[in-house]
């Protein structure tokens, strides 16, 4: 049976743990706010880019085949997965869920006889995936957003690498795996195909309905011609999509950490209550025992 001192020490240790987790929760909350406002600030560019893509695609001649990035290489042999996770842990199932989803995806692809290549953005998912797929991981990026904010240059660095690989014909299909930020409580691991690029249907529908409302307008002019613009827009769009995923993931990480630390703080509180009850019981038992000893000693005399 543990002594009274053991109980006291344990209670003190859980209390200090609670202090740490509640501090981490508050830090995560403030970082989340920052990450969310950054994600919001990046919206206009992404929206404008999507509108422009839809516009260019809509006015392409029907017989135009489109650049490789849009129509694909014609093969479906090698898949490149870009997995965006966090560098740090202590954020609940954030990285684990994504790694599990990615693993399922990889195994399914391999089952179908495809080759798989992996790019990890973020250390955590690399740590998990390297156990099984170390030879498939071609590159790992860490330290993204270490300074508290994510620069577009991080996204561009990865994009450049991916584009170079694509030009060299190193892969046919590129899919982005990341934690989509639904709300503070929910982040869903999701997959988005980047190459060949799938035009977002809802966006073009919206643009169409908007155009219909506005009535007939003069047709758009393009300089240089549509196909050239499209060829330049698509690589940029890749960067935008990646940047969005990085931002989503960063916000999701902080949200997940906040939730996890909130739970941890609550659990520590419960544990302190339980331990206090046990401590009081043990103390009472000790007092009773001492009393019995004194009384029986007195009786013996």
């Amino acid at each position: 049976m543990p002594s009274l001192k053991d109980y006291r020490d344990r209670i003190a240790s859980v209390k200090s743990t609670r202090k740490i987790t509640s501090a981490m929760k508050m830090v995560a909350a403030s970082k989340l706010k920052k990450a969310q406002s950054q994600a919001e600030a990046s919206q206009p560019y992404a929206t404008a880019m999507a509108e422009m893509l839809a516009r260019v695609a809509a006015s392409l001649p029907a017989d135009f085949a489109g650049p490789k990035m849009l129509v694909g290489t014609g093969a479906d042999k090698t898949h490149l997965l870009i997995v965006v996770s966090s560098d740090r842990g202590l954020c609940g199932g954030f990285n684990g869920n994504l790694a599990r989803r990615t693993r399922k995806e990889i195994l399914a692809l391999k089952e179908a006889g495809k080759d798989v290549k992996i790019i990890c953005a973020g250390r955590k998912v690399f740590d998990i995936l390297k156990l099984e797929f170390s030879k498939d991981i071609i590159k790992t990026y860490t330290g993204i957003g270490q300074k508290g904010r994510i620069d577009f240059s991080s996204a561009r660095e990865i994009t450049d690498f991916v584009l170079n690989q694509f030009e060299d014909g190193a892969f046919d299909v590129c899919t982005l795996m990341y934690n989509e930020f639904k709300n503070v409580l929910t982040q869903t691991p999701s997959a988005q195909q980047l190459i060949p690029f799938k035009m977002p249907e809802t966006a073009s529908d919206e643009a169409e309905s908007k155009a219909a409302e506005a009535g007939p307008v003069a047709p758009y002019g393009f300089e240089p011609e549509e196909s050239v613009i499209l060829g330049q827009l698509l690589p940029r769009n890749l960067g935008v999509q990646l940047f969005r995923a990085l931002l989503d993931s960063a916000a999701g990480e902080q949200a997940a950490r906040m939730t996890a630390m909130d739970n941890a703080t609550r659990n520590a509180g419960d544990m302190i209550n339980d331990l206090s009850i046990q401590y009081n019981r043990a103390r009472q038992a000790f007092i009773t025992k001492e009393l019995i000893e004194i009384i029986s000693g007195a009786e013996a005399v």
Binding site: A41, F152, D160, P224, I229, R236, F243
Partner: protein, 143 residues
């Protein structure tokens, strides 16, 4: 009609990270890939690619021109709107000539040393942007 609101259109300069500028303008000169474009209100709808160069914005009749350097991007022009998507933008007044000249020599050295098609392309791109920045500062062409 001299009313300011009648002659202006909404001008936006957007980077991936945030909106840099969002205000009415009277005239904007966009450095298009195939030549500069002067945009006034009522311009026919147009999508152009933007080369590294200077965007000049005039907010009102006879007002001062605001010059901003953009490192390439796209412009979406319609009768009431002009939106420039730029990955990098900086006011011309904030560019430092000495720094740029140093960077230019560095990059020229780099170009001699790098091997591999991709690296070469990357350095060449950087070189193009630095040259355009220098032209923006000094006002004459650097080749």
């Amino acid at each position: 009609m001299t009313d300011a609101a009648v002659n202006t259109f909404s001008f936006k300069l957007v980077s991936p990270e945030k909106i840099l500028m969002d205000e009415p303008a009277m005239q904007v000169v966009v450095p298009g890939e195939e030549g500069d474009l002067g945009v006034l209100k009522g311009h026919s709808p147009f999508v152009v690619t933007v080369r590294p160069g200077v965007v000049s914005i005039t907010k009102e009749q006879g007002g001062e021109e605001q010059k901003i350097f953009v490192a390439g991007g796209f412009a979406d022009i319609s009768a009431e709107n002009c939106t420039i998507l730029a990955e990098e933008a900086i006011a011309v007044a904030d560019l430092n000539q000495e720094e740029l000249e140093k960077k230019l020599t560095d990059l020229k050295e780099d170009l001699g040393m790098v091997s591999g098609e991709h690296d070469k392309k990357r350095v060449e791109n950087a070189l193009k942007i630095v040259k355009a920045k220098l032209s923006a500062v000094t006002g004459h062409l650097h080749v």
